[in-house]
Each structure stands twice: as structure tokens, then as C-alpha cells.
Symmetry: C2
């Protein structure tokens, strides 16, 4: 059964940013789907569906690689 997790990503401002983050996350092993709810310049919500739960560090690295910051859950 697939796992769904939601993350918060800061600093995204446009559709190009969405594409960059989506592309990096979609490239992680086991990821089936990525959906971004863009809040321009604010805290965007990113939902990732994967075969098994993803390691937080892998997600953080992918978001960082795209040029943005994963926000830790408060």
C-alpha cells in the first residue's frame, strides 16, 4: 500500500519553482506522485505519495537540490 506524506517548503514563488521541486522529489526512488499547493513566497504544501515511507533526509536533500528549504514541523 502506498504512503502519503505532507511537507512544507519555503521560498517558492512561481510555476517554475513548482516544477523544480516536483522534478527533484519525483526522482526519489519509490515516489509515485507529487502535488504542490503553491503559496507564493510563503509556506507551500507538498504532498508526496510513495511505495514506502521516505527518509526525511532524502526529502530534505531533494528540496534543497531544487533550491528551496524544507520547513520542520512545528
Amino acid at each position: 500500500m502506498a504512503t502519503t506524506a505532507t511537507y512544507t517548503v519555503a521560498g517558492m514563488t512561481c510555476g517554475h519553482c513548482v516544477s523544480a521541486v516536483t522534478g527533484e522529489l519525483a526522482a526519489l526512488p519509490g515516489v509515485q506522485a507529487v502535488e504542490v499547493d503553491l503559496i507564493k513566497g510563503g509556506a507551500s504544501t507538498v504532498t508526496v505519495v510513495s511505495d514506502t515511507p521516505l527518509e526525511a533526509d532524502r526529502v530534505r536533500e531533494a528540496v534543497d537540490e531544487a533550491g528551496y528549504d524544507l520547513v520542520d514541523p512545528s
Copy 2:
């Protein structure tokens, strides 16, 4: 001798936007250089160096193709 012209483009928010606009303008015949001074979400200044003066409609089309709006000089 090369010609330099400056345009105002609205709606660019990030480096990806700069890349999109730069790429479209650089693809116009005779364009030698494109420089963007990004004002996030505001009126960015785009400077284009070309062999001969560019037609305004060609510039407008290129900016539009990138997904942004050329602002008419006031």
C-alpha cells in the same frame, strides 16, 4: 555597431523566471546579450543588445512566450 534597448517586464519572481525570459529573448535573430535586473513581483528591467534595433512586437512576443508581460513605456 550594436544597439542597446531597455524594456520593463512585469510578473517575474525568481531566477527561473529570469532564465525563461532570457532564453526567449536570446533566441531572437540578432540578439547578442540579454541582462535582467529582477525586481521580484514588480517591474523588472531587461536590457537587450542586438545587431540592429529589434521590432517591439518581436520583443513583446518573446516575453509573452516566456509567460510574462512587457510593460509599455509610460
